[in-house]
Symmetry: C2
Subunit: 341 residues, 2 copies
């Protein structure tokens, strides 16, 4: 039953008594091929259930029409909606997307990059793993002349287009909000400061505290991987301080959720005893009790800008186009976890 041998343009050519190249041109709608043979070719192609061999044409044309995407993990509102947007825009231009996940590991990220280069993608859109410090693998992409766009987690030193939000300003907005709600001692459950975005958030947090003349203490700033467990652990740690904070700004929603759990378990009233602000506006933030104030990162917009930037780069591949850093303003979504008034 199953047709083991795949039909090729040669088969179509044989049926019609013309050459493969005529078939190829017909399929590609070449102007010099008569409408008669074009329709005939299309007809036979249909009959024989012809599927063009992408490998062959990609090899010949030197273009795979594949775009690689590297993200830490698709398992979040932020990344999955960015991907949805990228997929949407690029598929309109005839590209297919290969999604790979680094699981926040440098080693796996390298494997992702190798896999994508191996697949001969025409371009890569990536958000770096938290763990990544060395940029050698990203340099490899650049060295091969493959267009690369970074978003959210990106390094300036790489000198490639970048799309992200203004982390520094986000922190300022978050802290200003907490201060307005009456917080006087604000802790920060931070990401690792070797990552640029977390460093900027920490800087924004510090500068904002300074601005409002609030205490800046090292014990109130704890860096971590921002997983739920990290949030739990660090929140407990903060509660054990002789002088507890009355507001906590968390650099990630999952960690914030962990923190919230601990506060619930310890019967600490949120937002009145301690107010909480998360980051990322994950879908669960509006669903937990109390609902969680968080920072929206405009994922759809980021996806759109990244996709367009890549298309732009591909179009102007060998020209020397200037770098593009696109920084969006983040937005604070105020919910119950910080609404005292």
């Amino acid at each position: 039953m199953i047709n083991k041998k795949k039909t090729t343009i040669k088969d179509i050519a044989n049926v019609l008594g013309i050459t493969p190249s005529a078939v190829s041109k017909a399929l590609n709608n070449h102007p010099r091929i008569s409408t008669k043979t074009k329709t005939a070719v299309l007809q036979v192609a249909e009959n024989l259930n012809y599927q063009p061999n992408h490998l062959a044409s990609a090899l010949r044309k030197g273009k795979s029409n594949l775009i690689g995407v590297i993200i830490p993990k698709a398992n979040s509102h932020f990344f999955s909606s960015i991907i949805e947007k990228i997929e949407d825009l690029l598929s309109k231009e005839g590209y297919n997307i290969i999604i790979t996940q680094s699981y926040e590991s440098y080693k796996k990220e390298c494997r992702c990059i190798d896999a994508l280069l191996y697949t001969q993608v025409d371009g890569i859109i990536a958000s770096m793993a938290n763990e990544t410090v060395k940029l050698d693998y990203y340099e490899k992409i650049k060295a091969q002349g493959i267009p690369l766009i970074l978003f959210d987690r990106g390094e300036n030193d790489l000198n490639v287009d970048y799309v992200g939000i203004d982390d520094y300003q986000s922190s300022q907005v978050a802290i200003e909000h907490l201060v307005k709600q009456g917080c006087k001692r604000i802790a920060h459950i931070a990401g690792f400061s070797h990552t640029r975005i977390y460093k900027n958030r920490i800087r924004g947090y510090r500068d904002a505290l300074k601005k409002f003349k609030l205490p800046i203490e090292d014990q109130l700033i704890v860096e971590s991987n921002l997983q739920i467990e990290d949030g739990r652990r660090i929140m407990k740690q903060l509660l054990n301080l002789s002088k507890r904070p009355d507001g906590v700004y968390v650099s990630g929603d999952y960690a914030a959720l962990g923190a919230l759990q601990v506060l619930e378990e310890e019967n600490i009233k949120v937002p009145f005893d301690i107010s909480l602000v998360g980051f990322g506006n994950e879908s669960f933030t509006s669903l937990v009790t109390p609902s969680m104030t968080s920072i929206e990162q405009h994922s759809t917009k980021i996806g759109e800008l990244a996709a367009n930037a890549l298309l732009q780069r591909i179009a102007t591949q060998n020209q020397n186009v200037s770098l593009n850093k696109m920084i969006l303003q983040a937005e604070l979504i105020v919910r119950d976890s910080s609404k005292r008034i």
Copy 2:
């Protein structure tokens, strides 16, 4: 600075004064090539920063080493951990994974399939979109002789290997639990019954009610897409019944979350007034208040079985191997939303 022309085995051959085929054989560790030339080739390859052209070798070998995965949306614990496992196992065998998302839409699913076929994947692992009823596109995969494994959402009629949990039995376990907790009138927020898994869950629910001699009423069974909003809407609807249920079994955690929200808003005591059981054991189930009883689907195990089944199929491609239906027992994770005693 950028080396525009990519190095090929021909370049390596030229440097060493040997033929490209010798280089190819050296790189592929052919037994008849001397260790001397092998090391020399490796050395030069390194120096010239040689990257093998996957397109060319795939074309020649008729094998792309790419595996396609189709899922509704990566944005869930269930699917993302299945993918992680699949990726892990298949990459060990030298395969790279292309993840595509159908977003529960039949049309997008068709696009995914086309994209994967176009990319000449060596096999496909898929979980069908809720919306999908017509199987023509999946037939297309089969017709091309590409190994296909379905998991979770799969159709029996397709006659391909399948990995999933025992939905019928899951419902039975869930209902039995609710009955033991004292529920006498149990509603079911169900998925659409045209999907096999949801149909089976509904059947399991009905049969369990029958077994325990509890009322089976059409108004207590509502089908939907199981999104948060569906859960909210249907829960409100159930609360408006003249005889409210005292237990609700929901076929998806997101819908269960929506239901839980409504119950909270209406100040209905969970689990005492109404007990709630979800499905999927999403990460948030343990995080909401009250924590939610749910059914664990053993995603890692499913991923493992699916990956191995695919490898098996690829290995025995033209042989006539009998079909494999792997059904796992689901496990009820009891939490506060149903723990009355």
